[in-house]
Symmetry: C2
C-alpha cells in the first residue's frame, strides 16, 4: 500500500486545491506560481490532519519522511540549514483551514532557533537584539502553543523586565534584556514540562506540526465552527514557510491590508502596519499600528510595489483581497492572501463596483453578498436627529448600532445574553477565548487595537456592531467599571455604540428605520432579474405592508387575523363572542367585530393594491383570548378568603369554568385552525364577509385587489371543501348585495403532515397552497418550538444530534421531503397550483434555496427580510444552474 | 339515450346481484329460480334509488313505464288485476337495502285495496272480517309511511274500539268493528292531508315506492348506518311482491326462523310464528309468538315442508339463514331469506360446525366471524359463584352481562351515556326510534317482545346484552319506575342483566374473566395456521403477560415502564429523582429505583419466557409525576392568607417553581421520549441496567429470554445511535459483571412523521421498528386525542369530514402512507428488519388488515384483544389472496 502524498511544495499547488491545502496554503502556492515574492515553503495537507485524527492523534505513515524531504528542499534553495549555527534555516509553522477561522488556531514563528543558531542569526544579521527578540518570541510561542504552558507565565516575566527597566514598549528593551528574559523562559519550560527546551529543530518542527493539528479541536475552534456552521471533519493544513523578518529594524515591518475598504467597500487600499515588528503584533492589537497610507511616505518603493501586488491579486482572484506582508530590510514579502471578510455594506458596494469595472458578472455579483449578513443593513440605526450623549469616540470597526448593559467578562456576557438580556461586551482587547461572549452580546467595545484587531474582525464576521481602540475609556476589571474622564460607568449601566461612526453613547439611543443604498438597490434589481422565486411578505398591518412593498415585496403571503383580535379595544368583544352561550349572543358579538375587521382588510388590501394578499382565517385556539386559569383560580381563592362579594366570586367562577372548558392539554394540537371554522362557522363567515366587503369597496373606488382566502390547519380535503363552499357563498352574497364583482381565490395552508401526504386530494379544492413550515416542523418532528427551545434544543445541537435548529433552517430531509411530495402531488392534479411558503423559513437563505429547488412560486417573510429573500432567491438560481 | 333497466322480475335476478337488487330482492330472485314457493314479484333497483336522489327526489325517466310493464306481468301470471273489484291484485312494497338494516326502513302491505276491491277480496275469500282487517292495516301503514301521519292517531282509534268492545286482542274484533275503524281511518287521512285516501292502486303503488326511497334518509336510518358503518350512498331497492295472507284464519300464519340458534349456534331450527297474523305482528313484538317447534304439532305438513326448505336454503347459501314465511290457508310461502345475524358465540360455533359438516372450508370459517364481535366473549361476565339478587327473568336475547343505572327514555340514555354514565335502557318494547339510546346504553331490558323483537335483533347486532319479554316487570313511564311484585326500582337505581340467562339482578354484580370455548379455540387455531402476521400483546405486568399468553400472544410488543413509575410506593422516589438539583442526588434516587425496576422486568420476562419482550424506556414528560401547578398555586395562596408557617410556604413555593420549570405548553410535543434519555442519560442507563440484570438472572436460572430495548419518540437517527451506544455499554458491563451472556436487540418506535420519512437512515441503527400509531396519528393529523375527542371529533364524524375516528381505525391514506414508506425504506437498508405495531390499532380488525397488507411482522394489542387480532390477521390473509 503506497501512502498518500501528504506534503506539497508551494510550486506543486494551485488556488483550486483549497480543500486539500487549506485556504492559506493554496493561495501561497498560487502566488508562488504567478511569481509573487513568497518565501519558500511547503504545505502539509488537510488529509494528513484527518488521518492524524483517525489514527488517534498520531502522525500517519509517510508524513515524517515526506516532511524531512521537503525540509531538505528548503535547505537547498535557501542555502540555509536547520540547526546550522552559521546560517540557520528558520521557519514559521501555521495552521491553514479550508474555511478561514481567523485567530482560532495556532501558529509558531521563528522555529529552528536554539541556543546555538540564535548566535548564528545574530552573527549573520549583525543584529544581536533582533536575534534574541526572535528567540524569546519563539520560546514563548512554542511554550504556549506546543508545550501548553499558560502564556501569562511568559508575559509576567516580560512585564517585570519592562518595569525593572522602566520602559513602556518591548522595542525599548536591549539585547541583554532579552538574554535575561530568554533564560527565564527556558527555566519556566524546564519547570513546567520537567524537560529542557528541545534544541533539535527537526524535533521542534514535528512537535509544532502536532500542536497545529491538535489546535483544530480546541474549545474555541469548536465554538467558532458551530457559530459559523463549518463542518468539524474538514481538518486543517499546516504551512511551513521560511521565515522573513519584519523585526530587523526600522527598514523592516509587517502589516495587513485589504484591497478595498472592508467596512464601506470604497476602492482604496485599506490597512495597517507596524515597523520593526512581527505579524502577530498587528493582529493581536498590542501596539496600535500605522495606517497603510503612511507607508507611502516611509518606504515609497515598497509601497508602490505592494500597491501593484494588491491590484494584481485582486484581478487574479476577481475579489477583494486581505493580504499579509512583511518587509525585511526593505524587501517586500507576501505571506498570505485571501478573499477579505467584509461588512454587508462593503460586500454590496464591492460587488456592484466590480460589475461596473467589468471584473465580474451580475450573476457573480449577487452571489458575493451573504444574504444573512444583510440583516445589519435592514435594521434600525441611531436616529441622527436625536440628541446624543457622546461619552467617547473609538474606531468605527463594524457598522450598525447597539445598546446594552455593560459587561466586562465574556462568561457573564454569555450568561446574561442567554437569559435574554441585551449586553455590550467591553474589553481592553478581545482574544479568541472571548468568542462565546461576543456571540451573545449586542456589540463589542475595546479600548485597544485597530481596525484589523481580533474584536474588529470577529464582530464584522458576525455582523455585530463594534467600536475598537477607544483609548479614552479606562477599564478597571477589578472594580467592574470604566471611566471616561470624571464619568464612571459601572457593570450593568446601559450604553450604546455606533459602529459606523465609532461613537460611544450614554444610555439607550433612539433608532430609525434603515434605507437602502443605491448599490443595494442595484444589486437587488439584478437579483430580481435573475431569480425565479417570487418574494412576498408576512404583514398584519397596512404599515407593515407598505414597508415591505418599499423593500420589494410582490404581495402578501400571510396576513394573520388573530393579531387584529388581540387589539385592546377588541379583546372585550372577542371575549364576549367566545363566552356567548347561544348562537344569537355570539352572532351579536361578531356583528360588532365585522366593521372592525373590514377596516383592517381595507387598509391592507389598499396598501397592496394590484398585488395578491393572502389572508388566513382565524387560527389560534379560543382560550388564547381568555385570562389564565391558574391566575383566576388563585384570585378566586383570595376573594373567598378575604370575604369578597358573593356575586363577584360567582362571576369569576363562571369565567373560570368557561376557561377550563376551553383549556387544552396540547393547544398546538387542539381546537384551532379550520377546526374552529367547522365548529363555529359563524366566525369564518364574519371574516369572509369582512374581506369581501373591503374588496368590493376598493373595487368601487377604482383599486385592483386580489384577496386570497386561506383556510388554516387543513388535514383532509373535506375540511377544505366544507369551508370553501361557505366562503364562496359569502362572496356570492356580497357581490349580490353590492353589485360589485371582485376576484378572489380560496386555498389552504399545508402545515400538517397529513395535508402534505394527501396533497393530491386537497389540490382538487385548493387554488393555492402555502406551506406553514413552523407548524409543519413542529408536527413532523413532534416537538413544539416553545418546549424544544426552552428544554432540549440546546443539547441537541451541542451533541450534534441535529446539525441545525429546524425552526431556523428548514429541515430538508424530513419537512422538505413532505413539501416536495406535496408540490409534486398537488401539481399533478392542478398544474397551475400556486405554491408558496409563509413560515419563518421564508426569509432564511438556505431554506429559500430549497424552496427554489422544489419549484415553489414564492417565499413570504417579514418585511425586513424581503431584500434578503430576494437576494437568496437569485443565489439559489445561480448556484443551481 | 336509452334509460337504465330499473325493474327486474324475480326470475331475471340472481343472489349475486345484491348491490343492484338489494339483499332481499336478490334472494327472492334466487329462491324463485331454485323453485321455492315465492309469491310472484319484481324489484326496483338501488340504481333507481340513487338516480331518484340525484334527480332531487324525483323518479328517474323510464322507472314508471318499466314498473307499469311489470305490474302487467304480475296481473297475467296471477290472473288478478289492480283495482279489479272481482279479483284484485294486492302487493306488498318493501325496502331492501344492499346491507340489511332491519326495521330501519318502511314497508307497505296489502297495497291495491280500496273501497271497491276490499269487497271483492271479501267475496273471493268468503271472509269479510279478513278483508276489512287487511284494509284497515293498509290504511294505517299507508297513512303512516306514505302520507306521514303520526301512527298514534291510528292506534288510539284501535284502542278506543277495543275498549268500547271490552276486548283485549285485535283478533277479537269483528268485521263490523273493522268497518267502523276503516271509516275513522279514512277521516283521519282526509283531515290530515286535505285529500281523500287515494283509491287508484297504481297511484298507491307509485306513492309507496316514493315513500320507500325517502325512508333511506330518515334520521333513524342515518344513525343506524353511522353505527354500523354502512355507506350513505348505496340506496335501497324496492320489492313489489304479490300479497299472501297469514291472517286468513287459523290455517294461516306467519313467522320467522333461523336455521340454527343465532344465540348459541346450536344446530336446531329456531324461530317463532303467530297464527292468523301478518308479518309485522311478529317482528314488532306486539303479541308474544309461539316457538317454531309448536308448528310441528299444529301443521305437521307445513312444518315438514318448511324444515326441508330451511335445509335446502342453508346448503344453497352455505350459511345459517334467517327466513320469513307465511302460511296462507295451509300453503307455505317463503317471503325472505338472508344470512342470519348471530352472536359471536353462535358465529363461532356455526363456522366450526359447518367445517366439520363439510359445508365450508377452514378459510371460509375464519371469515364468518366478525372479529370486533368477539369482544363480547372476551369480556368479563357475572361470577356464577356470587350470590345474586334475582329480580325477574326474561328471554336471554343477547348474551353478555351489564350493569347500569335504570333509564326509561332513549334520549336520557343517550345523554347520560355520553356523559360517561353507565345506563341500562328499560322499555316495554323498543322501536327504531330508540336506536340512539341503545347505542349509549350498556344493555337493554324490555317487558314485551320475543327473541326476534326489535330490541333483541338490534342488541345482538351491536353486541350488547339484552333481556327481552320480561313480563314480570311492570313499567310506569310517568312515575319513572318499574315494579316486580312489591319491589320498586326507580330511575337511576342500579340493576344488572345477564343476556345469556335472561336474569335481571338488583344492584351491581361481581364479574369474572372469560374462558374460550372449544370451538373458539379451534377457530383460532385455524386462524393461526392461515395468518402471516404475528400477534403480540401490550402488557405492563406479569399478570397481563400471562393472561395474554393464555389468549395466544406470541410475545410482548410493548411494555410501558412509566406505569411502574406511577406505583404508590415508587412515586415519592421518582419525584425525588426529578426534583434532584445535582446529578449525585438524582443518581441516588435512581439507585433506589433500580432494584424495583429489575423486579418488574424479571417478572415480565419470566412470564414470557421463550418469547420476545419489547420494553420501551421512559416516555412521558417528567411533570406527569409531579403535582398540578394550579392546585399548588391555590394552596400557597390559601396557606399565606391563613397565616401558615413560613417554611411550609417556602417549601411549597420551591416545589411550584420546579413544577413550573417542567411545565410545558404542549406536553405531547415536549420534553419526553428519547429526549429525556438524551438530557438525563442516567435514567435510561438505570432502566437498561434493570432490564439486563433481570435477563442475566433469568438466563442463570435456565430460562430463555429475549428483551428488546425500545427507544421511544425518535425523529432522527442520531438520537438512536447516541442512546443505542449507551444501552450497549450497559449490556456489556452487565455481562462482564455477571459473567452471563444474554441476547437482546435495540430498536425504536416509529411514532413521529419524521421517523417514518427517514426510516432508511434510522434502520441503519434500529434492529426493529414498532409503529406507535397513537402518537403517529396525533402528529400526522396535528391533533391530540384528548383535545380532539373532547372538542370536535364528534362534529367531524357527524359532518363526514372524517369517515372514521382515526384513533380507532387506522387512517390508511395519511398515517398508513407514512407506515408503508417506513416499511419499504427501512427494509431496503435492513432486509430482515423486524416491524410491528403497538398502538391501539393493533387490535382493530381493519387496521390489522392494513398491517398485513404492508407486510408487518406482527401486531400487538391489549391481552383481551389478542384473539381478535389472531382472527383478523387470518381474515386479512384470506380476503387479500
Amino acid at each position: 500500500m503506497s501512502t498518500a502524498k501528504y506534503v506539497y511544495l508551494f510550486n506543486e499547488g494551485r488556488a483550486d486545491m483549497k480543500s486539500l491545502l487549506g485556504g492559506k496554503g493554496a493561495n501561497l502556492a498560487e502566488m508562488t506560481n504567478i511569481g509573487l515574492p513568497v518565501p519558500p515553503g511547503f504545505v502539509i495537507t488537510t488529509e494528513a490532519c484527518r488521518d492524524f485524527y483517525n489514527a488517534g492523534q498520531k502522525f500517519p505513515e509517510g508524513l515524517e519522511e515526506q516532511t524531512l524531504e521537503k525540509v531538505k528542499f528548503l535547505e537547498e534553495i535557501t542555502g540555509k540549514k536547520f540547526g546550522d549555527p552559521q546560517n540557520p534555516l528558520l521557519v514559521s509553522v501555521r495552521s491553514g483551514a479550508v474555511i478561514s477561522m481567523p485567530g482560532m488556531m495556532d501558529t509558531v514563528l521563528n522555529l529552528g532557533l536554539n541556543d546555538e543558531t540564535v548566535e548564528g542569526l545574530a552573527a549573520s544579521t549583525g543584529n544581536k537584539r533582533f536575534a534574541y527578540d526572535c528567540y524569546r518570541r519563539f520560546l514563548q510561542m512554542f511554550g504556549d502553543v506546543v508545550l501548553g504552558i499558560d502564556h501569562h507565565r511568559f508575559e509576567t516575566i516580560l512585564e517585570e523586565k519592562k518595569a525593572e527597566k522602566e520602559v513602556q514598549f518591548d522595542n525599548q528593551l536591549t539585547a541583554g534584556d532579552w538574554q535575561d528574559v530568554i533564560e527565564k523562559y527556558k527555566n519556566i519550560i524546564n519547570t513546567e514540562t520537567g524537560k529542557p527546551f528541545p534544541q533539535d529543530p527537526m524535533d521542534q518542527l514535528f512537535k509544532a506540526i502536532h500542536a497545529v493539528f491538535n489546535s483544530w479541536n480546541t474549545e474555541r475552534a469548536i465554538v467558532y465552527r458551530r457559530v459559523h456552521k463549518i463542518p468539524d471533519d474538514l481538518g486543517t493544513a499546516v504551512n511551513v514557510v521560511t521565515m522573513v523578518f519584519g523585526n530587523m529594524g526600522d527598514d523592516s515591518g509587517t502589516g495587513v491590508a485589504f484591497t478595498r475598504n472592508p467596512s464601506t467597500g470604497e476602492k482604496v487600499l485599506y490597512g495597517e502596519y507596524l515597523t520593526n515588528a512581527q505579524g502577530e503584533d498587528v493582529v493581536a492589537g498590542i501596539r496600535t499600528p500605522q495606517p497603510i497610507a503612511k507607508l507611502e511616505e516611509e518606504m515609497p518603493d515598497v509601497y508602490r510595489q505592494f500597491k501593484e501586488t494588491c491590484e494584481l491579486l485582486e484581478k487574479h482572484y476577481r475579489d477583494m483581497q486581505d493580504i499579509e506582508f512583511t518587509i525585511e530590510r526593505g524587501k517586500l514579502w507576501i505571506l498570505q492572501t485571501r478573499n477579505g471578510k467584509r461588512t454587508a455594506q462593503a460586500a454590496i458596494k464591492i460587488a456592484v463596483d466590480m460589475v461596473e469595472e467589468g471584473l465580474i458578472t451580475k450573476e457573480e455579483a449577487v452571489t458575493r453578498v451573504e444574504p444573512s449578513q444583510l440583516d445589519q443593513l435592514l435594521h434600525r440605526r441611531i436616529d441622527p436627529s436625536s440628541k446624543l450623549n457622546v461619552l467617547a469616540k473609538g474606531l468605527p470597526a463594524s457598522p450598525g448600532s447597539a445598546s446594552g448593559k455593560v459587561v466586562f467578562d465574556a462568561d457573564l456576557a454569555e450568561k446574561m445574553g442567554k437569559e435574554g438580556e441585551k449586553v455590550l461586551l467591553v474589553r481592553m482587547e478581545t482574544t479568541p477565548d472571548d468568542i462565546h461572549g461576543i456571540v451573545e452580546s449586542q456589540g463589542v467595545l475595546t479600548s485597544r487595537g485597530g481596525m484589523t484587531s481580533h474584536a474588529a474582525v470577529v464582530a464584522r464576521g458576525m455582523g455585530k456592531p463594534c467600536v475598537c481602540g477607544c483609548d479614552e475609556i479606562k477599564i478597571d476589571y477589578a472594580a467592574k467599571q470604566f471611566s471616561v474622564g470624571e464619568q464612571v460607568i459601572k457593570e450593568g449601566d446601559v450604553i450604546s455604540i455606533d459602529g459606523s461612526t465609532g461613537q460611544v453613547l450614554l444610555g439607550e439611543v433612539p433608532m430609525i428605520d434603515p434605507e437602502l443604498s443605491v448599490e443595494f438597490k442595484k444589486l437587488l434589481e439584478w437579483a430580481d432579474e435573475i431569480r425565479d422565486l417570487g418574494v412576498r411578505t408576512n404583514a398584519d398591518t397596512p404599515e407593515d405592508a407598505a414597508k415591505a412593498r418599499e423593500f420589494g415585496a410582490e404581495g402578501i403571503g400571510l396576513t394573520r387575523t388573530e393579531h387584529m383580535f388581540m387589539a385592546q379595544d377588541r379583546l372585550p368583544i372577542v371575549q364576549e363572542m367566545i363566552l356567548a352561550s347561544t348562537l344569537e349572543e355570539r352572532q351579536e358579538a361578531l356583528n360588532k367585530l365585522l366593521p372592525m375587521q373590514q377596516e383592517d382588510f381595507y387598509g391592507i388590501l389598499k396598501a397592496m393594491k394590484g398585488l395578491p394578499v393572502c389572508i388566513r382565517l382565524l387560527d389560534p385556539p379560543l382560550h388564547e383570548f381568555l385570562p389564565n386559569a391558574e391566575e383566576l383560580a388563585v384570585e378566586i381563592t383570595r376573594l373567598k378568603l378575604s370575604g369578597a362579594d358573593e356575586s363577584e366570586i360567582r362571576a369569576k367562577e363562571e369565567l373560570l369554568r368557561k376557561v377550563r372548558s376551553l383549556t387544552e392539554f396540547n393547544p398546538m394540537l387542539g381546537h384551532r385552525g379550520c377546526r374552529l371554522g367547522i365548529t363555529y362557522p359563524e366566525i369564518y363567515k364574519m371574516q369572509a364577509r369582512a374581506i369581501f366587503q373591503a374588496a368590493a369597496k376598493l373595487v368601487e373606488e377604482g383599486y385592483e385587489v386580489f384577496p386570497e382566502v386561506e383556510i388554516p390547519l387543513v388535514m383532509e380535503v373535506n375540511e377544505l371543501s366544507y369551508l370553501k363552499e361557505l366562503v364562496i357563498k359569502v362572496a356570492d352574497k356580497v357581490m349580490n348585495e353590492t353589485g360589485v364583482k371582485f376576484k378572489y381565490a380560496v386555498g389552504t395552508m399545508i402545515e400538517l403532515p397529513r395535508a402534505a401526504l394527501l396533497a393530491d386530494e386537497i389540490a382538487q379544492e385548493a387554488e393555492f397552497f402555502s406551506f406553514g413550515t413552523n407548524d409543519l416542523t413542529q408536527t413532523t418532528f413532534g416537538f413544539s418550538r416553545d418546549d424544544a427551545e426552552g428544554k432540549f434544543m440546546h443539547q441537541y445541537t451541542e451533541l450534534k444530534i441535529l446539525k441545525e435548529n429546524p425552526f431556523v433552517v428548514l429541515d430538508r430531509k424530513g419537512v422538505g421531503k413532505l413539501m416536495k411530495m406535496a408540490v409534486q402531488e398537488g401539481r399533478k392534479v392542478r398544474p397551475d397550483l400556486l405554491v408558496g411558503i409563509c413560515g419563518e423559513h421564508g426569509g432564511e437563505p438556505s431554506s429559500v434555496e430549497f424552496c427554489h429547488l422544489i419549484g415553489l412560486d414564492y417565499v413570504s417573510c417579514s418585511p425586513y427580510r424581503v431584500p434578503i429573500a430576494r437576494l437568496a432567491a437569485a443565489q439559489a438560481k445561480v448556484n443551481n444552474k
